[in-house]
Symmetry: C2
Subunit: 264 residues, 2 copies
């Protein structure tokens, strides 16, 4: 990373006014990791650190206009996709992304807010599986999202293997929402070369608002900097764990990850 | 600033996909200065580093729902307002801000994009003068914006004095868009106590995309940290000048200010 020649990452997702999740998480993470953040809003939300109250998706034509204008001015070194808010936006986005390959694409398959509000719509899993997975470099589901994407698989291992056959480069399954009584959180990386890596991090006592966004954004930022896929995942997990260790109780809900560099 | 007890600033303005101006500038600046950024989108734009192509404002009821939800969860230590996109949103916003006083409010009166696209609408100057200036702590116009707000004043000094009678705590007039042949840029702070301070910074050779947003966000961040008004302005000017010195040519248009802390 040099100051003169900045790597850039394009973040496509929802806006969260509380600054915990969504594009604020993306912008802070990329900036802290030395990558210039481009961003396109797919959906606005009314939410706080506890839950989402309303969501409003943009028009697919608007999305396409934003995408075309940004990408023709600045070539992104990686792209991260989060919430897209409507079936029509999801499908248009897949069509746009198919045209800019081989830029690395991280997909954070957002299904529900931690507070319980359903963010995906009918047909969401189909769009992810049929349109996005063939062009995705890294998919980052938690356990609940993995089950939503592969509901008939009896175990996480089998779910991840089933999704891998659809074409993504790797699947990182995070375990923050599983086995809550264990003192550690297991993250598992299933790569298309057949390898599996697992990491155990100490389970932190707090709940968080924006931890999944932070992890996916960190992986996308390291990919933008040219890290190979597995190294980007390892670095992203480590950086995110530190951001969670330093998280702060800013609102009444989940703590917000600390995503700043060292202030001047 | 401590890591445990974060100050927060609420940024209300437009979203710029290029990451040069608007809420990305705000989020990066606050984060680099140790302040947690809350944000509310008033308008989405299609733009790049050269100019704005389209703008679409949110509904005033949506703005009010966002504002109510964020402010009831997290009390902001300062508020910065930029672009609001429509007369109805501007007026509703003024009504909402009147209720949360005495939080310091920075108003960056955005009139035109640097590429020339008109961002203000008919009646904008009236809303600024009649609704916002009485509740504004710091107004940060450049010369063109100052003229748009006080068109009948023959000089900048007289324009600033006329606007001061409407109630703001201070007006910081930036000179980046004036006297382009001089080797320095003059910034002038007119305070309601009658004092005037001027600073000359070396004029930098590049054009920038997002310099005004960065300055206003830096002043709002220092106000959130408890700096008195004049100290916040001095610190904001100095920080912004450094961000411009380190700016990078990321797109084809203006350079983007460098608003990161030191990356880990």
């Amino acid at each position: 990373m040099s100051i003169e020649q900045a790597e850039t990452a394009l973040f496509i997702g929802g806006h969260d006014p509380s600054g915990g999740a969504g594009l604020t998480a993306d912008i802070q993470t990329a900036t802290a990791l030395g990558v210039h953040p481009l961003s396109i809003v797919t959906a606005l939300t009314v939410q706080d650190t506890e839950n989402v109250e309303q969501i409003e998706s943009v028009d697919p034509d608007w999305l396409e206009a934003c995408f075309g204008r940004v990408v023709s001015d600045i070539h992104p070194d990686s792209i991260k996709v989060g919430l897209w808010g409507s079936q029509a936006v999801g499908e248009r986005l897949a069509t746009l992304l198919e045209k800019v390959r081989p830029v690395p694409i991280v997909l954070d398959p957002i299904w529900k807010a931690s507070g319980g509000f359903l963010l995906a719509q009918d047909g969401w899993a189909d769009v992810v599986c049929s349109r996005f997975l063939p062009i995705t470099t890294l998919l980052t589901p938690n356990w609940i999202e993995l089950q939503a994407l592969a509901p008939s698989a009896p175990t996480a291992d089998e779910a991840a293997r089933a999704l891998l056959t659809l074409g993504p480069g790797a699947i990182l399954v995070t375990g923050g929402d599983q086995d809550l009584n264990r003192p550690y959180v297991t993250s598992t990386l299933y790569a298309s070369d057949g390898t599996i890596e697992r990491w155990n991090d100490a389970r932190l006592p707090a709940a968080f608002h924006g931890s999944g966004c932070t992890l996916a954004a960190a992986c996308a930022s390291y990919l933008a900097r040219g890290y190979p896929l597995k190294m980007a995942v390892r670095a992203g997990l480590r950086w995110t764990h530190l951001a969670l260790v330093k998280a702060r109780p800013i609102g009444h809900g989940g703590q917000i990850p600390f995503r700043a560099g060292v202030p001047p």
